[in-house]
């Protein structure tokens, strides 16, 4: 199961992990979070990473997104190999090529929605592409609330600002870490809808970590992780299909 199951596809790869390992601690207390994971994330595809807690799904995302270091193997974002980058170059890479959506605490409370959306460009010192930004804002339906501060927005609205921020700088790839974890189901569905639309309509590449089968069902493809390894993958998932597959892992885990 460790061979790349997506090798047959011809589309370009936005990010790729090869034999990626991440080990915490040493000797007896050693914990293997990722065990020689090889996986490709294709351009213009919405990928969900699933797995029970402790399966290494967040670690995988963090390593691929340049937020965390890894012990062995390689990670490429586009043509860039992350393993050889220093902190400063990693920061620049995240700034210029990657968008992020976190579970919570996504926005700066001192900035307005508009300022939050253009923050990555501000940091990079780039002029935002106004037309594109307006398109993104329209898509997430925030036009009327641009001058509001995060405290004046609902949780769902805040997360939509975060989605807009991730999209606004046109990154090569967007990573979401349980982006709907803190939202009620309706707001969650909205946010997931926007993410899917960004992939379908704008050609964006999105990778999302989630433990929610419903959220995973919005993706084009689901990768299942267990004990630090990629154990399965599913194309065009449905919520029920994902749930069943998860139950199988659970059952296997119990019998083994």
């Amino acid at each position: 199961m460790t061979t790349s199951p997506t090798a047959y596809r011809a589309t370009a790869v936005a990010a790729r992990a090869t034999d990626l390992s991440k080990v915490y601690g040493q000797g007896e207390t050693q914990v293997v979070a990722l065990d020689r994971v090889t996986v490709d994330f294709h351009q213009g595809e919405f990928t969900a990473i699933m797995g029970p807690s402790g399966s290494g799904k967040s670690t995988l995302m963090h390593c691929v997104a340049g937020l965390d270091t890894f012990s062995a193997g390689s990670v490429r974002i586009g043509d860039t190999e992350l393993g050889s980058l220093k902190d400063k170059q990693l920061t620049q890479l995240r700034r210029d090529k990657i968008g992020f959506i976190f579970q919570a605490f996504n926005l700066l409370p001192t900035l307005t929605a508009q300022e939050n959306i253009t923050l990555p460009m501000d940091i990079a010192g780039r002029k935002p592409d106004k037309e594109w930004v307006r398109k993104v804002i329209d898509m997430v339906g925030l036009s009327g609330r641009l001058s509001h501060r995060p405290a004046q927005l609902s949780g769902g609205q805040q997360q939509r600002v975060a989605v807009a921020r991730a999209l606004a700088s046109r990154p090569e790839i967007i990573f979401g870490d349980e982006p709907t974890g803190n939202l009620d189901s309706r707001s969650g569905a909205e946010v997931l809808g926007f993410l899917r639309n960004s992939v379908r309509e704008l050609g964006q590449t999105v990778v999302m970590v989630t433990h929610d089968p419903v959220a995973a069902s919005y993706a084009d493809r689901v990768i299942f992780l267990a004990d630090g390894r990629v154990v399965d993958e599913m194309l065009h998932p449905t919520a029920d299909g994902v749930l069943d597959r998860m139950k199988e892992f659970d059952a296997k885990g119990r019998t083994s």
Partner: protein
């Protein structure tokens, strides 16, 4: 409850560190000051007790030199008569005055300290008990002297060398007969002491055969009181006899008084440190309470009363205060020991003695430390008690509501308005308004401190565009972060504002007065040089004669201090040289003619003339210093000036009535003005006298301005103290901010803000807060400086407000540096934050 408090202290060790440091510094200052002055006073007291050990009775004459009717001192006969009394072992006569010793280059040794001359008074055994000779022996011939060991060493003089010594008369060369050590106070303070043969000293300082003091030692078993009773009838009216014990007491009291001003200055420093510290402590506890909102609400929910919550916060403060006080006390004792050796390094000799630690500093240190900390924690404690139990359930609870800021701002506004009103009213009242200004200043300072959170938003909003332009996104975020918690920003900025208010106020005042003095010297003094004794004493008549003969001198006038009784009132007068006075000083004539001075008439200052109703042509009945009466006519009225007494008169008029004229300074105008050659000619005409200084305009200004500069330097020491505490405050606030904003910083790092810019963001926030505090302080200080200036305006002609922009610029730069310095550690920890942990933390 107490156990909870204790646990909290232990749990927040790092957080409380800054509080502990602030309390500790204040306490160290208080206890250090007290221990230092106790130690000094103990040492001085035991020294003075020792110096009066052998003295049974001391007699001092208060005869004044100009009073010709009375005996000039204590005569040899009096001494002999006392010597024959029952129970008297010996009597020593002393006569002393100024004596300056020139080093081989002709410069005065020990300038700025006391330069004393006295007589060598050998007893029957040929020794003088007050002096221990380490080389040679005491002076017994007219041309011999002895020097104290330090002075001899400074001049590199050995026994047999020729030494030039200046007394109030001309310089004379003596042969060094001996070098001694002594317990004399003038010497232990860093001054010089010259011993002459008794007859020489009498001639120099008093009159042949007379002494100023007699010291009586008792034979063994004799009672001091009885000797005193026997001595009293033998001495003239203008002398007083006291027992040695009484004198030792008196001197001890004098020492205590002398030290008490030092004590007060140092305690003032400590007070400011503690006052500033209050803000820091209050800030820390506010933050601790805010962080523990849920915890405290839970305690309320499970049944803790409001009182118990307040008490637990106070108990926590008490523990912190106690720990800080104990450490501060230890530090204070070290500080006292350090100060003493520091004084020695500056050439001030402090008599040896043990470090004295009495109960007072210990109790004071502990009380001050604990009480200040608890006082500062009281408001946060009350706020903690107001947290509703339901806050335990909800995720967010706003501690500071806008409503309380409204109340706060109203109170602050009222206090500030009252204070500003009092200051303006006081300024309008002139010199009577000083106390009202002081009260107003205090109110305004408190009011502004209360208002600082309100002020922070608009003021910082003003500079935000600048920050964005200069530093981009870091600047933008820093500007916004700085006003996120106005209370905290306010308290932090206040710490800096207090110090800067004082320092700016005094700088404005000092520079303004200094400028006025400058203007006055250049406007009022037309002379090129002012000649005066370095000791501040009076010049000998011979100096005047010598100066008149110098080639190139175009005008010379003494400013001889004199006085008359006119119609029953004593008026001080300057006796001057007619014709020359208007060429050396600016005398603005109002009425009459200065030429009349030459005819023996008087010139009167305008204010005195108006007050007394004297007019040109009036003839006034005058009583001279020797009680002779006469009549003098008013020949001129002139404008009042700082350099002139209310009455001017020809020296010739008072000469017959003053045996020994008192000439504090002589003004000299020379052809060619102030040149090195002219100065040299004057110095050489005065016999290269090390005790006489020839001052040009710059020297004169420095002499008047010296005090102001010294005062300003003391205040800058104060600034340093305030800055130090302010640094702690800013560190504290930033550490808090960074801690509270971990997630934000993590997110910023994730979306691409590099470490350098995270650091810059924190640093800029610190700079914004510090500079904001400085601006508030500088504004208030300048206002105060202006107000106090108004009260002294009337007594200082040429007064005009000067804002010392250069110094203010330096203060601002210092404040910015404080910010950068304080942000070092918080910025680094912000940059090092583990991104993933920061984002995950809930």
């Amino acid at each position: 409850m107490f156990r909870t408090a204790l646990r909290n202290v232990l749990a927040h060790k790092a957080r409380l560190l800054m509080t502990v440091l602030a309390v500790m510094l204040g306490v160290a200052f208080v206890s250090g000051t007290l221990v230092f002055t106790d130690t000094l006073s103990h040492a001085f007291r035991s020294q003075s007790a020792k110096s009066y050990d052998n003295v049974a009775v001391a007699v001092t004459s208060y005869a004044s030199e100009s009073d010709a009717k009375q005996e000039p001192g204590l005569s040899q006969q009096t001494l002999d008569r006392i010597g024959k009394l029952d129970g008297v072992a010996s009597v020593t006569g002393r006569v002393d005055g100024f004596a300056g010793v020139a080093d081989p280059d002709g410069k005065l040794i020990g300038a700025g300290w006391s330069n004393k001359g006295s007589n060598f008074a050998p007893g029957k055994d040929g020794e003088d008990a007050a002096y221990d000779f380490v080389q040679g022996s005491g002076p017994v011939k007219d041309d011999q002297i002895a020097l104290d060991k330090d002075t001899a060493a400074k001049g590199e003089y050995k026994v047999g060398d020729k030494v030039r010594v200046a007394t109030n008369g001309p310089v004379k060369e003596y042969t060094l007969a001996g070098v001694f050590t002594t317990e004399d106070g003038a010497v232990s303070a860093g001054g010089s002491l010259v011993l002459f043969d008794t007859s020489v000293a009498q001639r120099l300082y008093l009159a042949p055969g007379y002494y100023r003091d007699l010291t009586v030692t008792a034979a063994s078993g004799a009672d001091d009181r009885r000797i005193l009773d026997a001595v009293e009838p033998l001495i003239p009216d203008n002398a007083e006899a006291k027992t040695g014990a009484a004198l030792a007491d008196e001197q001890a009291k004098e020492i205590e008084e002398g030290l008490s001003s030092l004590n007060q200055i140092l305690l003032g420093f400590a007070g400011i440190a503690l006052f500033v510290g209050i803000f820091l402590i209050a800030n820390t506890f506010t933050m601790l309470v805010a962080q523990r909102t849920k915890e405290l609400a839970l305690m309320r929910a499970v049944g803790a009363s409001r009182k118990q919550i307040t008490r637990s916060v106070l108990a926590e403060a008490g523990v912190v205060g106690l720990v800080a006080s104990v450490v501060g006390l230890a530090l204070g004792v070290g500080l006292a020991a350090g100060l003493r050796s520091g004084m020695a390094a500056f050439g001030m000799k402090v008599p040896a003695g043990p470090l004295v630690i009495t109960a007072t500093p210990v109790i004071a240190a502990l009380c001050v430390g604990v009480l200040i900390t608890m006082l500062a924690a009281w408001l946060p404690g009350r706020r903690a008690a107001k947290i509703p139990p339901v806050a335990a359930m909800s995720s967010v609870h706003a501690v500071a509501t806008t409503k309380s800021l409204v109340v706060r701002n109203s109170i602050g506004g009222v206090i500030t308005a009252l204070g500003a009103g009092a200051i303006v009213a006081g300024a309008a009242m002139g010199s009577d308004g000083r106390w009202i200004i002081a009260l107003g200043a205090f109110l305004a300072l408190i009011g502004v401190i209360v208002l600082v959170p309100l002020l922070s938003r608009p003021v910082i909003a003003l500079v935000r565009p600048l920050l964005v332009r200069a530093f981009g996104v870091s600047g933008k975020l820093a500007g916004q972060n700085a006003v996120r918690n106005p209370r905290r920003t306010g308290a932090t900025a206040s710490a800096l504002a207090i110090g800067l208010t004082l320092v700016t106020g005094l700088s404005v005042l000092g520079v303004t007065v200094g400028t006025a003095l400058d203007k006055m010297t250049t406007d009022q003094i037309k002379a090129d040089y002012m000649v005066a004794m370095a000791s501040g004493g009076d010049l000998d008549k011979s100096a005047l004669a010598a100066l008149e003969k110098v080639p190139g001198v175009t005008a010379v006038s003494p400013q001889q201090s004199s006085s008359f009784e006119i119609k029953g009132d004593w008026v001080s007068a300057s006796a001057i040289t007619p014709g020359d006075i208007e060429r050396v000083l600016n005398v603005e004539l109002v009425n009459g003619s200065l030429g009349t001075l030459g005819k023996g008439q008087l010139a009167i200052a305008e204010k005195t003339a108006t007050k007394q109703g004297w007019k040109v042509g009036d003839t006034l009945p005058v009583t001279f210093n020797d009680d002779k009466k006469g009549e003098l006519t008013v020949g001129a009225i002139f404008k009042d000036s700082e350099f002139l007494s209310p009455v001017l008169v020809d020296t010739e008029v008072v000469a017959p009535h003053e045996a020994k004229p008192y000439i504090p300074q002589i003004f000299v105008k020379m052809a060619g003005g102030q040149t090195a050659a002219n100065e040299k000619a004057l110095i050489s005409a005065l016999g290269e006298n090390p005790a006489i200084s020839v001052m040009d305009h710059k020297d004169i200004r420095d002499q008047f301005g010296g005090f102001i500069n010294m005062m300003l330097n003391v205040m800058y020491g104060l600034l340093a103290m305030a800055l130090l505490i302010a640094v702690l405050g800013v560190v504290n606030t930033l550490a808090m901010s960074v801690f509270e904003r971990q997630q934000e910083i993590g997110m910023l790092r994730a979306i691409g803000l590099d470490r350098r810019r995270v650091k810059r963001m924190v640093r800029l926030e610190a700079v914004v807060i510090s500079v904001f505090g400085a601006v508030v302080g500088i504004g208030l200080g300048s206002f105060l400086g202006w107000a106090i200036g108004q009260t002294i305006k009337s007594s200082l002609p040429g007064y005009a407000l000067v804002i010392p922009w250069d110094r203010i610029g330096i203060f601002l730069i210092l404040a910015a540096l404080v910010g950068v310095l304080a942000a070092m550690w918080p910025a680094r920890s912000a940059a090092r934050l583990n991104m993933l942990n920061a984002i995950k933390t809930e």
